[in-house]
Amino acid sequence: QQQVKQSPQSLIVQKGGIPIINCAYENTAFDYFPWYQQFPGKGPALLIAIRPDVSEKKEGRFTISFNKSAKQFSLHIMDSQPGDSATYFCAATMTTGGAGNMLTFGGGTRLMVKP
């Protein structure tokens, strides 16, 4: 049972566009929500993360929006560039769960930014 649902599975935008990737979770005990970026042939790398006590977090061109009541969060990439073409994964975990902070991942979104 996938506890984090991610959409869309793939996304194509033009350079300068603002791709938006959405995730929804079920477990209200989750308290840490990271996004990972993965390039072909590489391992996932942490991009940005948020806790549910804030509704938005920005780091450079990347923004997470968080809606605790709806149990949804999303990644926005401002002024997207061809170098942003990658697969993006949302994830969630309970940092106080005592079970090693296991991450539950969404299914991934393959983003292509056309020049």
Binding site: K42, G43, T95, L103
Partner: protein, 112 residues
């Protein structure tokens, strides 16, 4: 990749043979994880370790075993590989006071 290496990086094996994948870290992180990545499923946790000789099962542990005899090494063993275990395997580590998991470069395994 935060001081994480995985070996081998690529492996082709036959159904029924044992396979061991190795994860080595130089960060002295307490926690180590093994994930598999399959299209449409994201990454799914196989096993994890919270210290030397301390391991536990993840979401998709059937057919896999792990061992951790040293802080820096975490081994994943497929006792008798099956075609359904064809996947890309990632190791990850996390420090005791950290929230972030750091991933290795992955091992691509093909079971024929």
């Amino acid at each position: 990749d935060a001081g994480i290496t995985q070996s081998p990086r690529h492996k082709v094996t036959e159904t029924g043979t044992p396979v061991t994948l190795r994860c080595h870290q130089t960060e002295n992180h307490r926690y180590m994880y093994w994930y598999r990545q399959d299209p449409g499923h994201g990454l799914r946790l196989i096993h994890y370790s919270y210290g030397v000789k301390d391991t536990d099962k993840g979401e998709v542990s059937d057919g896999y075993s792990v061992s951790r005899s040293k802080t820096e090494d975490f081994l994943l063993t497929l006792e008798s590989a099956t075609s359904s275990q064809t996947s890309v395997y990632f190791c990850a580590t996390r420090g005791y006071y950290q929230e972030t998991q750091y991933f290795g470069p992955g091992t691509r395994l093909l079971v024929l």
